[in-house]
Amino acid sequence: MYKRPFFWIVLAVTAIFALVPGISGDVSLRESLLLGAVYIVLASNLNLMIGYTGYVNFGNIAFFGLGGYLGMYMVTVLHWPLWLASLIAGACVSLLALLLGLGILRLRGAYFALATIGIVEAVKALVANLPAFGGASGMYLSFSSFAPLGGPRHALWIVYFAIVALMGVSLLLSLAIKNSKFGLGLFAIREDEDAAIVLGVRAPWYKSAIYAISAFIPAMVGTLYFFKNGVILPDQAFDLTLSIEAIVMLMLGGQGTVFGAAFGAFVYEQFRGFLLVSPTFSQFQLVVAGVLLLAIVLFLPGGFTGWLYRRLPKLRKVLE
């Protein structure tokens, strides 16, 4: 891994994310980069399903939201420390994904995509109906929850660094998988699942494994993100629009590469931030995203990275 130039690029970017706001103390920069880091986590884990394995997970946000809810429950009701809640939430959601996957991963292509669309709506309805999770009014954090982390201001910085660290881990994980035997099997499944099976790839296991893996870090980040926000509501946690935007980010940057996922997420986040502020466009967020997605699908299916590789083939080995 250390021989790969992109490994060092990831480390450098993670360091920049951590150090620049950390040293300057600039809170608004921190908030902007935090959102960027969250999106990068979502997009790069989604990439494992879409870009590596060829299975479109429209419901990727379910992992993030469930992680948020489980984590919030553990912190507010069980009074567990944040780091533990985050880890356990990640593990639980991963396990749930494994179980869910046993069912829906048997479905091919479009059927699978449809099932995942249903998942978000179903999980949202389920959570909204459970009193333990606060029902439709959600859950919220009291100030005392920030005490173990040294008070609210300190806590926000800790959460930020944790999320940035998880972003780095996510990217490195994607990189490792891409260059492993496991990754090779996933790519084979993406290209032609039946051929892959005949070649000896244990497709059912591989798919289940990657689905569960792709749930872990987003769930952990979900816990941290909603902890930082202090409140979690069903519509926010299971925001189908964000789920879709994750797909747009991935396609924009170029699915199948780690760089593509990260780049697409970051650029889209900046663009989206600009859109939401501008009075004319804020209404049309979904429309703009839709037009962007359509344009990419019709004219540039490889996204930015695909275009870049065609222009400068040498970059293939560097920006993985």
Binding site: E191, A195, I197, V198, G200
Partner: protein, 252 residues
Amino acid sequence: MNEILKVSGVGKRFGGVRAVHQVSFHIGEGEIYGLIGPNGAGKTTLFNLINGVIRPDEGRVEFRGQDITGMQPYRVVRLGLSRTHQIVKPLNDMTVLENVTVGACFGASNLSLKAAHSVAYDVLKLVDLNDRSEHLAGELNIAGKKRLEIARAVAAQPGLLLLDETLAGLNPTEVGRMIEVIRRLRDERGIAILMIEHLMQAIMGLSDRVMVLNFGEMLAEGSPEEIANDEVVIEAYLGDPDLTHKILEMST
């Protein structure tokens, strides 16, 4: 000679159609066994029944003495049974090397990525694709794709290779080269081969024994000469007996 494959009374129905019925035969280690018959005779279905893509309704398939009837294809490959497809299935957006590496990684030996790469290079040399190892599989022409298909299956280090019409669509030079490759697979690597072919010169020249399938049932089985002389076979499939003999003479 040891038996590597034993098929006993295998059959499959699709709705009302009997695609394969009561087919029984065996192949020895290092043997080249030809499978011929008119289109729709059930040859590819038989392949699918052997390597687990479809589960037989009746009968047994044994590989090196082990019952593999209805076993998942990814397990069958691990035991040493590979196959190619009639309509080739290249992994298009992956390179030629990556394609063959997949075959090597997930085949009979549980190889690491690095070990698989060297096996892959080796096999690519055998089928003469090593100068195109970095090309995307989707960019190859049909002959290249066919060679890739074989390379992938061979990289799994099989004891038995199922070849489904590997010569279809190739020009005479390519056919000659492919026949050489197939012969070398058996001669140099000891791989047994079960091949479906329509090209008479190839099948008759390469095979140690031949089986004729018609409407899902075995019509005849024997040496190429015996098959060429079999009246029932001639009537059902081969056509002109004199021409068949001439082809047989030319290929030996």
